[in-house]
Symmetry: C2
Subunit: 166 residues, 2 copies
């Protein structure tokens, strides 16, 4: 078979976002069982200068839309960061899942050598599609999904590694 | 170019393990500055039923050796889990980095369709090399590197996202 960046990004995003929906469901069930508000979880952080749970979910989806759009040579859609409740966060994850089904393998063909230009705090950086996936998109995506999981676990939500792996 | 699983695993492991060495260095410097023992950090956890920092480092390297060995069709080396100190953890990461330089792109050629059989708690699972990378090796690797970072950040070690991304 001929491998493309589609094969190592699309199925990963789809699977991990589905797992993220499970984290949200299990956290909501725990909040109901232990009688606390999911708002407290949405705002929970691992350190005062880290981003709260809801930010982790939003940024994870940002990396999904950024990655598949850039690799497919399409404009990156702009999504306002207004989600606060668990229902809104669930809708945000679903929006990313809905975008994924519109991306075809053909659109990403050859994207490993396509130039991707990113705006950073210090200016613009141009990377090949492959380096962008390896050095930016995937580490950032996994960072935020894992940290979302870690915040919930730190707060006693009964999740296990199998929920993360799916 | 023709993409292979080598291209989306080897450089990622090499880069993220180098970042993990930076986490260890910065944590050690913080321990010296704030006058606490790195042993406390090595044993720190985000939840009582999660694995401590030193376990996160060990398991991250386990997924590296498992992944590259399986994709290259080589036996997975067995490394006893005896690391306790920061120097021992650093040596463990270096052992994984040393293994990576022995793996050639040729050895992994075609590994996306090679069958990989894993022992799990409930029996054996056989996956294609591609599914193994997408569904097991990379999510597990990133999970443990991110959780190592999260444990340090939760304990006040001055790391930033740029240390994680490298």
């Amino acid at each position: 078979m001929s491998l493309s960046l589609y094969d190592v990004t699309l199925p990963v995003f789809t699977r991990m976002l589905a797992n993220l929906l499970v984290f949200l469901d299990k956290a909501e069930a725990d909040a109901a069982a232990r009688k606390y508000s999911t708002e407290a979880l949405a705002d929970a952080r691992l350190a005062p200068d880290m981003i709260p749970f809801r930010g982790q979910v939003m940024i994870a989806t940002d990396h999904v839309k950024g990655c598949v759009s850039r690799l497919a040579g399409q404009p990156v859609p702009s999504w306002p960061d207004e989600e606060k409740t668990f229902d809104e966060l669930r809708a945000r994850v679903q929006k990313a899942l809905d975008l994924l089904v519109t991306i075809t393998p053909e659109a990403m063909q050859g994207s490993e050598t396509r130039e991707v230009t990113l705006k950073t705090r210090t200016g613009e950086v141009t990377l090949s599609g492959l380096d962008y996936v390896n050095q930016r998109a995937m580490p950032n995506f996994y960072f935020h999904v894992t940290t979302a999981y870690d915040i919930l676990r730190h707060n006693g939500v009964p999740l296990g590694k199998s929920d993360f792996i799916g």
